[in-house]
Amino acid sequence: MAKRDRMSGNEAVAYAIRQINPDVMPAFPITPSTEIPQMVSTYIANGEVDTEFIPVESEHSAMSAAIGAEAAGARTLTATSSAGLALMWEELLLAASNRMPLALALVNRTLSGPININCDHTDGMGARDTGWIQIYSENNQEAYDNFVQAYPIAENKNVHLPIMICQDGFITSHAVENIELLEDAAVKAFVGEYEPEEFLLNPGKPIAVGPYSVSNYAMEARKNQELALENAKEVILQVAAEYEKISGRKYGLFEAYKTEDADYIMLIMGSAAGTAKQAVDDLRAQGKKVGVLKLRVFRPFPAKEIAEALKNCKAVAIMDRCESYNGNGAALGSEVSAALFRNKVMISAVNYIYGLAGRDFTVTDVYRIFDELEQAELNGTEVEQYQYVGLRK
C-alpha cells in the first residue's frame, strides 16, 4: 500500500535514499541540498540504513570518492548544488567516461555572480556536456519518483552511465507538499541489489579503471560513451513503464500537457512547469489553444521526439532558467531550435530567459508570453527572439 505523507523535496529524496539503502555516500554540504546528506546521516545514526557516509572536505573530493567507491563495486551517490557541482566539474566527466552508474541528487541553484543562493538551472546546464544523464523534476513527488528510478536506469548494462536527478532549489527542495510514497519493500524490489559484473575489489579478477588512452583510442571511446547515452533513452522509458506498474504514475521523456491541438506551446523544465500548466488551464477556459511541453529528460536530449511533439503548433516559447552568454539564447533555446531545424519543423521559436537567481515566475508572465506569440502569429507583430521575462527597463 502506498503511503500518503507531506514533506519537502529534500525530505522526499532522502526518504528514497533510505529505501534504496545505497552502500556509500560521500558528500559535502551546500545550500539548498545540505538537508539531503544531513537527513541520510540521521538515518545512518539511527541504524535505519547501513550506508557508509564519507564526510569529505570538498565537492571535488565528494565526486572523486564517489567514483572510487563505485569502481570498487559499491552503489554510490552524492548530493550537491550550484558551486558544489561546479567544483565537481573535472570528476563529472570522469564518472561518465569511466562508465560509473552513480547517482547525484542535484538541487538546482544559480552560480555566482552576482552572489546569490536561489534557484535557477545554471548549475545543471553548466554540466550539460559532461556525459551524465539528467532528469528534471517539477515537484517533490517527481523528485522522489525520479530518484527511485535512477539506479535501474544508470545500472542497466546498455547504459552504465552516471545519473543526475534534479529539482529546483528552495521552490521544491524546501516547500512542503503532499506526496505519495511507496512501501520500503516495493522500492527495494524495484531497485534490486547492485551486482556489477566487474569491479575493483574482486579478488583474483583484476581490472584497470580509467587507463591512459592515446589518440588512436580516445575518439572510439567517446563514440561508445555517446552511444550508451543514446541507449539510455529507451531504458528510461522501460524503467518508467515498470515504475508505473508499482506506483500508478506515468513518466516519459517529457510530459505533453494539452498540446494535442495547441497552436502555442511553452516548453519548460522544472518547477515552473506547474505555473505554466495553471496558466494554460486559465487560458483554455477562455478558449485559447495553448499547451505545455514539460521536459523531464534533458540528457539524453530527446531532439526528434520534441520536434515531433511541436510540429503541429504555430509557435513555441522555449523557456530557459539560465544564460549561455552566447548572445543568441540559452541552453534549451539552442538545442530545441537545432532539433526543430534538423527535423525540418519550421515553426516560430522564441527563447525566453526567466526566473534567474530565484526571480518569481508567475501565471501572469505565462499569459503575457502566450499573448505575445499569438499577436505575432495573427497580426505580424515583431517579437524579440531572445528576451528576458519581467526585466525592468
Binding site: 569511466n98 562508465r99 579478477k205 583484476p206 581490472i207 580509467g210 588512452s213 571511446a221 563514440k223 560513451q225
Partner: protein, 100 residues
C-alpha cells in the same frame, strides 16, 4: 567481460573496444614496451658492480631484475632511460649512453 588485450590494437573498431576503455585483466602493462620511449640508455658494467643493490629499488619501471640477491642485465623492453640508477650507483657501474 574478461579482456584479451592482445586482440586490441589501433585498428580495432569502436564496437570491439572495452567499456570506458577499462582493462578487465591483470598485469597487461608487461605487454607495453615503454623501452621504445628511451632516448638515453644505461649500460651495465658487471666488472665494476659490487651487488650493493641500491639501483634496483629506485628504478621506477622495475627494469632491473634481481635474482638470488644479484642484479642482472637491464630489461630494455621497459627501461625508459631515466638515469636514476646511474646517479645512485656509488661505483660507476652504470653508465648512461646517448640514444637507444
Amino acid at each position: 567481460m574478461r579482456t584479451d588485450i592482445t586482440k586490441i590494437n589501433e585498428q580495432t573498431p569502436h564496437q570491439d573496444l572495452t567499456e570506458g576503455l577499462m582493462v578487465f585483466a591483470g598485469g597487461t602493462s608487461k605487454l607495453f614496451n615503454t623501452g621504445e620511449w628511451r632516448t638515453n640508455t644505461p649500460v651495465f658494467h658487471a666488472n665494476l658492480c659490487k651487488q650493493c643493490l641500491l639501483c634496483a629499488p629506485v628504478c621506477p619501471d622495475a627494469s632491473i631484475p634481481v635474482k638470488d640477491s644479484k642484479r642482472g642485465e637491464f630489461d630494455y623492453d621497459h627501461c625508459k632511460g631515466c638515469g636514476i640508477c646511474a646517479k645512485v650507483c656509488p661505483f660507476g657501474a652504470i653508465e648512461m649512453k646517448e640514444g637507444r
